[in-house]
Amino acid sequence: MKNLKGTLLSFMALGTMLLAGCNDKLTVLDPKGPQAQRQADDTMLLITLMGGIVITVVAILIFMLFKYRASKQSADYEPPHIHGHWLVETIMIGIPVIIVIFLSVVSVKSNYIVESTPQGFEDKEPLVIYASSSDWKWHFSYPEQGIETVNYVNFPADRPVEFKLYSFGPITSFWIPQLGGQKYAMADMVTTLNLAADNPGEFWGRNANFSGRGTAENMFDVEAMTATDFDEWVTEVHANAEPITEEKFNELLEPGHLGRSTYTGTHLEFSPAPHHEHHDDEAEEDHSSHE
């Protein structure tokens, strides 16, 4: 029995330690936009439900181990031969089935939510930003504003943003955890990630998919701004930045890490995104305004 108490104590100690270690909220559980909010809610629901399952199993296990230890029984006790019991087996299958059905419903709902325009932003025209990766940086093209940035992205907090993702090299995964989960960027197709921020704020984003030597540093800055700040920033870019030329862009594509930079015009004009939009199974409207 000493062993069991030991385990319990060590699990409790561990639990306390972990809780103490994360006073400030974990990034994924500290959402700043509707998509991330839904994902964080699902996560909390899952942690509770799944925690319940683990506790049930551990409780039954501890009960069995306490009750039926050989050391607590008489030497001549012979365990019976038990095949099974229909009621026990029905419960044993039934409860998991119910849990899975419940989670399936939640899962399907969430899928449609994270794949569509963020809730609360339905009536606003989305801002389309092309986010393309090259070894090991991110290029953001704004066809509507006619500007392009490297390794940072600004957008207004009062509009939904439609990120159009693709890659100039290996598969990468575009991820801004506080605004929503990731999606792949690939060389042969364009994928769409719908995000929005509740309020102005600064976040970090990164490539989460392994894409070679420079992956660890493949990060970018994200800032959601007020509409006026955003417009001001765009005007400023038009006033100060150099235009992006094909030559300059090819230079940027060379493998390596770069800091932030800003250009007028977009590379989409001379180096368009892959043709093949990934065919989503639901008929999806194409919001992109260029071409």
Partner: protein
């Protein structure tokens, strides 16, 4: 000439690699010297290399698995050491990438796979009362192909360079354009060769189990491990051909510049991911089902009770095997395939948790009214139940596709799969190893050290992997060789590193236990030291090469034939001793596997003349085999009787 040798140089040398090189060379010289000094070459050739005895082939798989466990373990410690503190410079990015790639491949394909194959080989014929497998010589070939594949993979880091695109080897990263060393060629070819061996094992064991069961053993009287082996081998036969095709296409992309998966000319990178996971997801069930089988044997033995819900145990495995082919897309929910597809695969994935849960409850109810004895194998099983449940429920979390957008590619995922594979597969293998050790080697492992090992291992495991769930939710992506202090990941990563250190201690304790028990354990143990239940314990220890002098007849027994004979006096060995037909040893499979190794090596470096040599030897072996007459030999009844008498004098099972 210079150019010729230059291609074998490693592109990213480091002190660690030079040390490894030196120790490989010294180790090989020492090994050759020892074998020569003790004049063991003949013995090795006659008794091991050419053997067709399933028990010996099993033990060769076991040795390979244990060696690879330590190779993969060293990799793991290096990875955790690199991440222990922020901005560490112990490994550079390239070296880290190579280490996590080889760690993954070695652990899944060259450690876990041979470990379960060891159990298939050693146990299945004994559990079904057979004298051998259906195709003994194919069995030898399967082992050597597997072994040569393993060897080819393991020389990559000293000749030409390691693969560095992850164990999943996603294209286009794994294509020539982005992965310029020969490392990924090694990956493609060594997995191909080892995979051929695995496919042969699959066919062999399905045939063995379907055709060679003892009289009276209906399918629903098979011991649970044999059931798990049957189903795992069926999955092998359906899944491995997909890997074969994918690897062949990948090899062509790399060697002949075809564009199946590479960028441009219609190459489809996600096609690789699909093919990989159509094999890869069933693969994790190939590993876990035999582990479930081992736990079932261990738990019913030490609860001193029959397995609760035998039929639902079997059906749950059948359901899992079918579903395992219908969930592969959950590995790339984030590919942009849309809400409908994600919903379908989310549901099929969660559905797998149901039969898995059924098994957990069956084990729990097997304890009910039992007489539980906490031996080392049982302690592994009792630690497995809660830890594996935790891994299973986090799998369900990952299966929620919308939420998985936040977990995918993070340490949360890494925590999940180690949480199922270590307490699931590794604990089962170690429990089974301890359980069957006396049957193989004639002495018991020390129980005190054994139990302490389990506790140390679980402590290390919890400290290593639970923190990763948290850093994952905090945004730590996987496969990143470094992070900055500002992320706040450092404390938990340090805890992980300490956990990895504690796990290392537990593995060293296993080595110590083997050594200690080899020196000190008594040798006069009976052939049934655990008071166990299955037919495999009705053999003598050590097991004679013919396994059973008389083929057992289990018509009157249940799935626990040996237990029935002990408790109810059911007669297992009816009839009398007769001549026994046995297969001959053969050196051909070994020669052929060596030729495959040469062929693989030649392909890695595009050395076509050498490839042709390898190919000719392979075809030559096949031609020779098809013209050869080999009828095996007989052990005559009187020889068998004499052997049996010797055992009778020693005591043990009747």
């Amino acid at each position: 000439m210079k150019e010729f040798f230059a291609q074998f140089a490693i592109p990213h040398p480091s002190l660690l690699i030079y040390i490894a090189m030196a120790s490989i060379v010294l180790g090989t010289i020492a090994l050759v010297a020892v074998v020569t000094y003790f004049k063991l070459w003949g013995y090795l050739w006659r008794e091991w290399i050419t053997t067709v005895d399933h028990k010996k082939i099993g033990i060769m798989y076991l040795i390979t698995a244990l060696v690879m466990l330590f190779r993969g373990g060293v990799d793991a410690v290096m990875l955790r050491m690199q991440l222990a503190v922020p901005d560490n410079t112990f490994l550079d990015a390239q070296h880290y990438n190579e280490v996590f790639t080889t760690h993954g491949v070695v652990m899944i394909l060259f450690m876990a796979m041979p470990f379960i194959t060891f159990f298939f080989n050693f146990l299945v014929p004994l559990q079904i009362g057979a004298r051998d497998v259906a195709f003994p010589r194919l069995n030898n070939l399967a082992f050597w192909l597997f072994f040569m594949g393993m060897g080819l993979f393991n020389i990559s880091f000293v000749i030409g360079g390691s693969p560095d695109a992850g164990w999943t080897s996603y294209f286009p990263l794994a294509g020539n354009e982005f992965s310029t060393s020969v490392g990924t060629n090694y990956y493609m070819l060594s997995l191909q060769i080892a995979g051929l061996g695995t496919l042969m094992t699959g066919i062999n064991f399905i045939t063995t189990i379907m055709k060679m069961r003892a009289p009276g053993m209906t399918l629903f009287k098979m011991p649970m491990f044999t059931w798990s082996a049957l189903i795992a081998n069926l999955i092998i036969v359906f899944a491995f051909p997909v890997l074969t095709v994918a690897l062949a296409m990948g090899t062509m992309d790399r060697l002949f510049d075809t564009k199946f998966f590479s960028i441009g000319n219609g190459g489809m990178d996600m096609l690789w991911a699909n093919l990989f996971w159509v094999w890869g997801h069933p693969e994790v069930y190939i590993l876990i089902l035999p582990a479930f089988g081992i736990f079932s044997e261990v738990i019913s033995t030490f609860a001193r009770r029959n397995l609760y819900g035998y039929t639902s145990m079997v059906w749950s495995m059948v359901v899992i095997s079918v579903f395992s082919f219908a969930v592969w897309t959950h590995h790339f929910f984030t590919m942009g395939q849309g809400a409908l597809t994600n919903s379908i695969f989310s549901i099929t994935t969660m559905a797998i948790a149901i039969p898995t849960g059924v098994k957990i409850f069956n084990w729990l109810f097997t304890l009910y009214k039992g007489k539980i004895e906490m031996t080392t194998p049982m302690l592994y099983a009792m630690h497995f139940i809660p830890l594996f449940t935790l891994g299973g429920v986090t799998g369900v979390m990952l299966a929620m596709s919308a939420a998985d957008y936040q977990y995918h590619n993070t340490m949360f995922l890494v925590a999940h799969f180690h949480n199922v594979i270590i307490p699931g597969v590794v604990y089962a293998m170690l429990a089974g190893l301890t359980f069957y050790w006396p049957k193989m080697f004639g002495f018991m492992l020390n129980e005190k050290i054994g139990k302490a090992t389990v506790w140390v291992m679980s402590t290390g495991f919890v400290l290593s992997f639970i923190p990763m769930y948290i850093t994952g939710l905090d945004g730590q992506a996987r496969r990143m060789y470094t992070y900055s202090d500002a992320t706040g990941f450092s404390l938990l990563n340090m805890v992980s590193f300490i956990g990895a250190g504690i796990m290392t201690v537990s593995f060293l304790m296993i080595v110590w236990n083997i050594w200690y028990s080899f020196k000190n354990s008594p040798r006069n143990i009976s052939s049934d030291p655990w008071n166990a239940r299955g037919l495999e314990w009705a053999t003598h220890t050590p097991i004679p090469n013919y396994n059973f002098a008389i083929t057992p007849d289990v018509t009157d027994a249940t799935s626990e034939a040996f237990w029935d004979s002990k408790k109810n006096g059911t007669k297992l060995f009816k009839g009398k001793i007769e001549d026994i037909h046995m297969p001959n040893n053969s050196g051909q499979p070994f020669v052929m596997a060596v030729a495959f190794f040469i062929l693989g090596f030649a392909f890695v470096f595009s050395m076509w003349y050498l490839a042709i040599v390898g190919l000719i030897v392979i075809l030559g072996c096949m031609a020779f085999r098809s013209l050869e007459d080999d009828h095996g030999y007989h052990i005559h009844a009187h020889e068998v009787e004499e052997t049996e008498k010797k055992y009778a004098k020693k005591g043990g099972a009747k």
